[in-house]
Symmetry: C2
Subunit: 440 residues, 2 copies
């Protein structure tokens, strides 16, 4: 290969020092999910196309696989890359239901692919971290509280700016619209979801034209959608003050208040869980809790995650599997924050120690030092070539390796130098330990 490659738009790739940050994020998320009893699974990258295209809305963004030089003329494999982790998970649950224990808690951290036009935070390949709890036939409401709480804790453990998990409830919206007498509730939900991009007056007009609402009904829908609070007493007073009576509305309000109250204080100051009555999530399958996640100061990225309750995540005709889950956009968050320095780069290599090399003949002695350090869990590499020691120290500096080790010649003392402070002292490879702050 003799040509210089150029980056592919929409397929971000990280340098080692940035990938180290992404890996630490993934490891931290995994740790929190496992602390809460979520098991990891990995699904294959492909699904039969007909399974992916059932939703309808994302058809244009699907990458279909074709075998190069396949025997049949079309070459289509009938397979396509998944565009999220929910469709493959629903299929996994159906396929393996007989071997899973329900309620089934799982987390999944994998790439997904969409052929859409790339922009900041929106990529053609992107890694997501999803948690879901799935029941067989039934799934208690308390799991809605649980998944939001777990994701709030997981995000609070990351080195991110503040963020908010903004929660709403489809029953509340549907009950309110029904109580108001809106003719086409589903169309209304689709329109209200546009309040993040359009002016209130424009959404009122859409509600009138698309959901056959009266101007008055439309104004009250938009009015309701303006509330955002983490005070559930205020939430109840506000919604009840709107003067619409409906059983579904009352249930949705109780559920929404339970999620917000159930998450109060679990994740510290930086991660806020609040009610936002504007959140609707246009897709049809949500049936109760809905939520989106926004990063403070990065509103331009839109939501960096979302989720909710679906009473029929999957069904094989006889059994229905209700689920509730939250998805966090790892690439969508990490890549832009690394790019603008809001996330600090990690070290370029995992090594804590570079063992210097006096000459090629003493490589076995330097190797032995490295072996002794590694045996105690200290990541170590040996200099590639016996350059002058000043050059070897610069070699370590360029890689962010904090210590350089000079093996003692002819049984003499070993020396170890902290190249950040310049301190150098005698050390024994079987006992020396790096200062705490450099260990991870």
């Amino acid at each position: 290969m003799s040509d210089k490659p150029t980056p592919l738009s929409g397929f971000p790739e990280l340098l080692p020092e940035h990938r180290a940050v992404e890996r630490a994020v993934i490891a931290s998320l995994s740790r929190t999910f496992e602390l809460h009893g979520f098991a990891n699974i990995e699904t294959r990258a492909v699904e039969p196309l007909e399974r992916l295209s059932k939703g309808g809305e994302v058809d244009k963004e699907i990458y279909v696989l074709r075998r190069l030089q396949a025997e049949d003329s079309a070459g289509d494999s009938g397979l396509a890359l998944h565009f999220d982790l929910t469709v493959p998970f629903a299929r996994y649950v159906l396929e393996h239901a007989g071997k899973l224990e329900f309620p089934f808690r799982r987390f999944q951290i994998q790439p997904a692919w969409r052929g859409e036009r790339p922009q900041e935070g929106r990529y053609r390949q992107f890694t997501q971290a999803d948690i879901d709890i799935v029941g067989r036939d039934t799934l208690g409401f308390h799991h809605d509280v649980e998944v939001v709480r777990v994701m709030a804790e997981a995000l609070a453990a990351l080195p991110l700016p503040g963020l908010s998990i903004q929660v709403n409830n489809r029953k509340l919206i549907q009950g309110f619209y029904r109580g108001l007498g809106i003719p086409d509730v589903t169309a209304a939900i689709r329109q209200i979801d546009k309040l993040d991009k359009q002016e209130p007056d424009a959404v009122v007009a859409l509600l009138v034209s698309e959901a056959r609402a009266s101007e008055e009904q439309a104004r009250r829908c938009v009015e309701m959608a303006t509330l955002r609070t983490d005070d559930t007493a205020h939430l109840r007073a506000y919604v009840e003050g709107l003067g619409v009576e409906d059983d579904l509305l009352a249930t949705g309000l109780d559920e929404l208040a339970a999620v917000v109250d159930g998450c109060a204080g679990v994740a510290g100051e930086r991660v806020r869980v609040e009610a936002n009555l504007r959140i609707a999530r246009g897709l049809d399958y949500y049936t109760g809790t809905v939520l989106e996640i926004f990063l403070d100061g990065y509103e331009r990225l839109k939501s960096i995650g979302g989720g909710g309750r679906y009473d029929a995540l999957a069904s094989d005709g006889r059994t229905t599997y209700p689920g509730v889950g939250v998805s966090f956009g790892v690439s969508r968050t990490v890549v832009p924050l690394l790019a603008d320095g809001a996330l600090a780069a990690g070290r370029k290599v995992p090594s804590l120690v570079l063992v210097a090399l006096a000459d090629e003949e003493s490589r076995p002695a330097s190797d032995a030092v490295a072996r002794a350090l590694r045996a105690r869990g200290i990541a170590t590499e040996v200099a590639a070539s016996p350059q002058r020691f000043g050059k070897q120290i610069r070699y370590a500096e360029r890689r962010d390796i904090p210590y350089v080790w000079f093996p003692g010649a002819d049984g003499g003392d070993h020396q170890v130098k902290d190249i950040r402070s310049g301190d150098q002292s005698a050390a024994n490879p079987h006992r020396w330990t790096p200062a705490e702050e450099t260990q991870k």
Copy 2:
């Protein structure tokens, strides 16, 4: 989705208790690689098709991406899924060379895709773990020893049966063939590589017909290829005893002996590094060390890994990047060994404790116990519903959760039960710690 999905041939998926084993394997490999200073990178799943199809040999196995309902009639994106991690890594090195430090040590653990016919150990999607060291312009031979040693250590840390890393050297083969006077050395290497599948006499015939060797030359090539030993004194005596003089042969013999001697004893009894003069690896780009990895008792899987030295992993026309690396087939090894029980399944969930639930009203009390345990790193879940305690214990049993916690009612003592032994005792959620063998 109301239909019951069927598995896709060649796309193995693991149940949670099996995925736990695969994850532990990946974590262990990563730990060893990092101890040796290898930095992790992840490349995108796709490459421009023309970059993947340069090699020529694997054209038929490539999955090309087409955007469903793209505007242009063909819809081809010009992109295809990578079929290994070497081609993307070579491209990554070229693309980011200005921002990398050389020699650059990296490890990469990702899936790759091939459209080939599935069979045991050969999948259409499979995860590989690769380590490589890449230099700019030059790369010392000692790195050949290093990568083999690191992979030997990494494999020795896995719960696998015994295995052998079988090493040879292209210079030794080429030098021997040249010294013998074989007209087409490259063709001869391709034929000798077939000794794993064909009888010696058939390979002799192929060497005569394809590499224009004489019958006598062909027999000596096959004779050389029969040696397999970890005794480098024997190796030297055997090769020198074949009576062929050639500088390249002498260099190759020195290098091969250095790799085998350099790995002696580093990885214990279970991982053997030995010379096998039959190993050739048909692909053209190897220029020195070549190796394949075989699992004892699983010869039917063929090699579970391989690698070697390539003096031009990548080149941008001005600069050449030599490399040496080893690839280990994670899926190829883990999936068959899990299937036949040679690798024991892990636990179905990460939880060590199930907190029982007396009634729905006491969920906050059970949640508080779970929070206290998690705060000390103990993975915990709360029972999904307040069934009879006998049912809750069976719920834990079915998930392989070893402990069930009974919160004390009205300030009374908490009790924790080890459901494997049946032992039950009073415990404080802020101090209790599970027995050591259940912690990981």
